[in-house]
Amino acid sequence: MEIIQFLNTDGTLLDGAEVRLSDEQALAGLRLMMLARAADRRAMSLQRQGRFGTFGPVMGQEAAFAGSAMALDPARDWIVPQYREMPALLHHGYPLECWFGHFKGNAAAAEIPDDVRMFPIQISLAVQIPHAVGLAWGLRLRGLSGIVICYFGDGASSEGDFHEACNLAGIVKAPVVLFLSDNGWAISTPREKQTAGATFAERGPTYGFPGIVVDGNDLFAVHAVTLEAVERARAGLGPTLIEARTYRMGPHTTADDPTRYVDPAERAVWEARDPVDRVQRYLTAKGLWDDAAEETCVKEIATEVDDAVEAAERHAPPGVDDLFEHAYASLSPRLRRQRDALSRRVPS
């Protein structure tokens, strides 16, 4: 299966590339990727200082999530994430401070704002794919024009939920984009141990919908194929499975040590395909990016990250009430008693 690619690693476009991002959008996409990378680095550093929880860095995969999210309309479309898609969530309106709040472990600080159409960050692999299909199907039943993008990885594709959800999505023609980010690894398990198939995308047609392979480190190609899938979904033509080929440049999570299993030579190949560098080179050649622009951008981003970390850390830590408040819409007498008993032991 052909791998769709628009942007060479040197920043030039391939023949026939149909970039669907304006220069302004390309600059915004670059800034989003740089913001995500800066936030990622800060989070890693905070985690090493004991000020942040376990999380999965997105380093190296920024284009896959920025490019795909830029194909959505945040005013009506939904994101159903896994856990590594920070740039997509930010683009969709999820505040960076909430992302810090989530992985810091404070649910109140992570609450999805009312006008942001996304499901919560999902740790259990692939379970969100059935949710996304149901959500997309329900939006159509409600007569709404929104579509759903669901993120998951190469590892999640081995779960039964992936199959069950694809199967149902095809049958009900759910307006959903199934975005599989193949980053080469499920913790230490390489892609070739997840499937003997040549691609993941080739499974799409077996469920009755298209499958596409795209260079996941190419902002423009990811955006264009996702936009096409979004348009298909919105037109009532059903799901698309997108396989974005990318590479996890960091550890699986902060608890992982990839030096035990990653071949440095392989990593170096992917380093040369860095998604941020490519767009910078493209914009530099167009006269839209230079050292001064980069310096300004880096400074702005650093402030944005500082502010987000500060806001997340300022949030009050959870109390006993937080354990109970959202377990049910209203508390049963038994739960009220449990809350009261626990409260007596914990000074407020």
């Binding site: 999805i112 379970v127 059935p130 149901g134 997309a136 329900g138 409600r142 199967n167």
Partner: protein, 325 residues
Amino acid sequence: MTVMTMVQAIRATLFEEMGRDDRVMVLGQDIARLGGVFRATEGLLDTYGPERVVDTPLAEGVIVGSTLGLAVAGMVPIAEIQFFGFAYQAFHQIGAQVGRFRFRTHGRFGAQMTIRTPFGGGVRAPELHSDALEAQFVQCPGLKVVMPATASDAKGLLLEAIRDPDPVLFCEPLRGYRLLKDEVPEGDYTVPFGQLREARPGTDMTLVAWSAAVQIAEQAAERLINDGISAQVLDLRTLVPLDIDGLVRAVERTRRCVVIHEAPLSAGFGAEVVATLQEEAFYSLEAPVARVTAPDTPYPLAIAEDLYLPSVDRVVDAARMTVKG
């Protein structure tokens, strides 16, 4: 009031609520064209059409998982798991996802959805069709677990379940589907969760049960009259939420109690009832609270099920021991 079987009451409730609220939809295996293997959804397809009455592929995980998504989209979905034993195929969705969705989103979203599922022994069904798994789901916070024992409660509790803002696992006793008949109120009739029902008054002891075991308890109470024992029968109706006050008040009065359920003994919901009574009514108890349950062995093939399930004889024996020592 109309006399109905439980399955008729369930069908009528679904039919009426789909008429009142066009967000309500049903989905599951064989529920549309066939009307369900027990005909609980018969006739819905003709009236409400294929968008709201949906035959799904044979996949419990995605039936439950997509139901959560449908609920967030603003539908009010009712999924059917054809037999409770098949819920194991969806355990990760029910236990880890559906129940905790409100909590995981800090209240931003709820999951107003119902999972209906028939279960229980005594109908000579194949393997895994009869298992009583309710206690496993009681351990899944965020979920409500509802176990009607009569046709009238099946209606009142199902309507309450459909309208509840939280997800409800609604377990329907197979043995009662067509056997049980009682008067079912017409129209918009709900039974609140967390309020047990006194199925039979009595003064010497209390038999606690839910779902099909209530009938066993009632038959045992009838027999116990011959021993001069007046046995009260309580139908818990909902395990989550549990009517602790109703349970404790009743046992404080009779001072003796036997719990009956179809699930295996260890860590069955009977253990929760016993623990609650020893915490809340310890000084009222005149005898240890007894349990009459299935043994801690797998549910057997059909011919052995009468040996396995709680019987009237076993309940009568346990009640006599409790009263007379």
